[in-house]
């Protein structure tokens, strides 16, 4: 027979002013199972908790009801109190008489008291059906998978590996480095991007705990936190990385020239190529789309010049498997294609370029050796117009959000232009200058003074050609007049959008994503690096637009989370998950269909005691189940129950009002 203790809190005046607390205690005492009931000024205080601990021992209580604030507030506190008194913490129920009664029925004390008494009665009834639950421990495979080898992936991989946890780093392209490797200098300090990035890339390649798998994609991820199994496709590179020394003879001799993605197509690379000189690993791959040996069976020059015989035209894609305990997704971003801005002449006028194209041009290792030129005639531009918010904050043509980094990199570009082209002048059309960040506002202010750039607040309405110049017409909202600027070059600060593969990847990982394609964090404020799927974390622009410091911070946070999972040999998990009563399960597998986490599998059990005939029943994977209860509601046989929210518990609440 259940022996329930009821503890009603005054919460100072918060509850007591609007609910007759002693009356609630009296009402609770009338319930058959209630053997002890008391009120106290602050139940959550240490003396309050002491009363609970004492009563548990003195009155041999079998479950506890605390009538106080929302369980979302102090459930953990009181569970701990139960634990301390040697009682299973899950025998606690909280009756929410503050948020649900005293605070919302302040004009009617009688009704608020009656409702509080009902809420207590419901909690008592529920607690009678509570079962002792124990934290679940799940064994973990101590190996992390990092998807994406940009700065986010590199940082996460290094941090995890430094904790002596093996990491598998999968990168889609032939080299790690990502977008940051394409940058010249970085705001607000103007350090050289390559100088700070390449040492980290080398660290990755040489780290004993990092297995770098470039030119590869994740195909499948099965399992659950601590116990994932990843299938990774290594794309055929046609070059044996083991023997290749990276001498470069092959790509120097290769006769096929194709646009160079690294330089935004401004110059050409070969069909066999390394993406950029500092690539890691610094081994070439053959681009099968263009190699004439692979497409037409003619050529074979690279094979002839390779002294090591590393070229293998028959190489096939290879699928490898790795057991993984946690995943960091760092797939980065793309830039938005500004084609919809037809009135600017995007596509028609060669001298309108994107910011990343400009970035490549002013980059010391760029296609123009660090000097910006006009694509139309190769002349060095003097007057450059920078237009911000191309695609960003534009519901009609682009996306609603602010891309966060454009204000800063445009400022950087004005400085770079100022440095590289003497006598040049920058015009910046902007909506707002958003320079929130350490040293950012100072950076903008200083740049404006140093470069003398003209900042024009307003939207550009039209760009048209006049001779070999571009005329940029826009509004200067501060003086309320239409202005026209004669430009040699127009640079569009295009919006940041998620990697186009994000939705597909999110689906295969079982992670949700938003309408733009950014993967969704578990909580926008309090769990910004976790996803709703346990053991999968987000770093960098895969979650939302970010600058480098934020990306690196989030990547390190991911690493901390991953190390947290791997801190013990097993992982502790909330026990409020589903369980299957095999006797009642009829094996229809509807639960398997509706489970959002793929947490339900099937198993074979004997028909009866000692029977040789087998039947199929459902089985919950404890590690994966998140306790939503979808399966419980579709189980017609009532074979599944969700600990903490079982049918008897909920029905007890319903019938005890």
């Amino acid at each position: 027979m259940a022996r329930v203790g009821v503890f009603v809190c005054f919460c100072g005046a918060n509850i007591a002013d609007f609910v007759d607390v002693p009356a609630v205690v009296e009402e609770a005492k009338r319930i058959r199972e209630v053997k002890f009931a008391i009120d106290y000024k602050y139940m959550c205080s240490d003396p309050g908790q002491q009363q609970i601990r004492d009563a548990i021992v003195q009155h041999r209580l079998t479950s506890i009801v605390v009538a106080a604030c929302s369980p979302r507030m102090h459930e953990k506190t009181f569970r701990k109190a139960l634990s301390d008194a040697g009682m299973n913490p899950y025998l606690l129920e909280v009756a929410n008489i503050r948020e649900h009664s005293s605070w919302v029925h302040q004009k009617d004390k009688k009704a608020a008291t009656a409702k509080a008494a009902d809420l207590v009665r419901m909690a008592v009834a529920k607690s009678i059906a509570n079962e002792q639950l124990h934290e679940i421990s799940v064994p973990v495979t101590k190996r992390a998978l990092v998807i994406g080898g940009g700065i986010a992936g590199i940082q996460a991989a290094l941090d995890i590996a430094d904790a002596r946890i093996p990491v598998v780093l999968v990168e889609k392209s032939p080299s790690i480095g990502g977008k940051m490797a394409q940058l010249d200098e970085t705001f607000p300090t103007l350090d050289c991007s390559q100088c700070i990035l390449t040492p980290k890339m080398v660290d990755v390649a040489s780290h004993p705990y990092i297995e770098l798998i470039p030119y590869a994609e994740v195909l499948e991820l099965d399992g659950f936190v601590g116990n994932y199994k990843a299938k990774i496709k290594k794309k055929a590179s046609y070059v044996n990385f083991k023997t290749c020394t990276g001498c470069g003879a092959c790509w120097q001799k290769c006769p096929v020239k194709v646009p160079n993605e690294y330089n935004m197509g401004i110059d050409k690379r070969k069909a066999i190529y390394t993406p950029f000189p500092q690539a890691v690993p610094n081994k070439p791959v053959i681009d099968a789309r263009y190699c004439t040996m692979l497409t037409k069976g003619k050529c074979g020059i690279c094979s002839k010049v390779c002294e090591k015989g590393s070229i293998d035209y028959k190489m096939q894609d290879e699928i490898i498997e790795r057991e993984i305990g946690a995943v960091v997704v760092a797939t980065g971003y793309d830039l938005w294609d500004p084609k919809p801005y037809e009135e600017y002449g995007v596509g028609r006028f060669k001298d309108i370029i994107t910011s990343l194209e400009f970035e490549r041009m002013v980059s010391a290792n760029g296609p123009t050796n660090g000097v910006p030129v006009r694509p139309s005639d190769g002349k060095v531009p003097k007057n450059v117009v920078f237009i911000k918010c191309i695609g960003s904050r534009d519901e009609a043509k682009g996306i609603e959000y602010c891309s966060k980094i454009c204000c800063m990199y445009t400022t950087k570009h004005t400085i770079l232009l100022h440095h590289k082209v003497h006598g040049s002048h920058s015009y910046v059309f902007y909506m707002d200058i958003r320079a929130a960040g350490k040293g950012y506002e100072e950076f903008v202010k200083k740049a404006q003074v140093d470069t003398g750039a003209t900042y024009l607040r307003g939207r550009v309405s039209k760009i048209y050609k006049k001779g070999d110049k571009l005329m940029v017409r826009g509004e200067d909202a501060q003086i309320g007049q239409v202005v026209e600027v004669e430009a040699d070059l127009v640079v569009l600060a295009t919006a940041v959008v998620p990697n186009k593969d994000n939705p597909d990847l999110a689906r295969l990982l079982g992670v949700s994503y938003d309408k733009y394609g950014y993967m969704s964090e578990a909580h926008p404020k309090l769990r910004p690096v976790e996803t709703a799927k346990a053991g999968i974390f987000l770093a960098g622009c895969t979650q939302a637009p970010k600058d480098i410091p934020d990306t690196v911070a989030q990547a390190s946070a991911c690493a901390a989370k991953v190390c947290g999972i791997f801190a013990g040999d097993t992982m502790k998990k909330d026990p409020m998950i589903s369980t299957v009563n095999k006797e009642f399960c009829s094996g229809c597998q509807n639960c398997v269909t509706v489970c959002p986490y793929g947490a339900i599998v099937t198993e074979e059990v004997p028909m009866g005691h000692g029977s040789k005939e087998m039947r199929t029943v459902a089985k919950i994977n404890e590690g994966v189940c998140q306790g939503c209860g979808s399966c419980v509601a579709v189980c017609r046989s009532m074979a599944i129950s969700l600990a903490g929210f079982t049918d008897p518990q909920i029905i007890n609440e319903i019938v005890s009002i």
Partner: protein, 286 residues
Amino acid sequence: MDYTNQIREIASKLFAEGKIDVFVGYRMTGFDENQVPALIRDPNEVSKLVFTDKSVFNLTNYLKQDHTRNKRIGMVVKGCDSRALNLLLTESQVKRENLHIVGIPCKGVVDENGNKMQNCIECIFPNPVVFDEMVDGTPTGSEAPPYQVNTDIQNIAAMDLVERRAYFEEVFESCIRCNACRHSCPMCYCAKCCIDQETSTLYHGANTTSSAFHALMTWSLHLAGRCVDCRNCEKACPSHLPLHLLHKWNEQVIYENFQEHLAGVHEGDRGAFYKYSMKDPDDFIM
């Protein structure tokens, strides 16, 4: 509609080829014009099999019985029966390889008074949707008519709230809680039915109007999107309750709101409650 000879031939052939252990069909009661299900295990008894428009009972009900489980079964199915079978296959209750399905191009069966049953008049899928062989060759398949709203449903829906409440109160009052509806339903195969899991608060087995309401409502919701409208339940009900009203209503609601196919028409389709669409109606939610 008389396929007696074809069925006997097929059954004999299956036994001769050693493909089946038991053949499930119909035989005469022996005392009147009605038929009963026949579970033929002895090839010599094949001559007992008949099939006419009196072959009413949905035989897939027998697939959940002890003595057919894990046996190789030959079974006669009409259109509605085959939909039940399809769902049972989808819900992993039978193994396809254990079944040899003999399809009947059904022209409708009749009730005790010899009138064509209403569900047969409204039937959209008279031909089996899953079978191994058809009597009379493959169906010529005249175009299925569009979904037809059941006339009984229309009549009830046209009543006002008070009348409907009074009507169904009589239904629930006349229910004697024998659970024959559930046992005769091919889709009710749970190891232990939820309404048998009696406790003082969950479900209780007393035969009160209230418990009949509870049991019938729960039952019809468990069959929502799964009922194939074979009317086994109505035939079994000793109180002659119009149980099809509940199922047909659910079917209509699901069809109209979720544009879902009828139950069991497609293999792998578990029914409306086991999937969703972003476009599902949302206007009834505040």
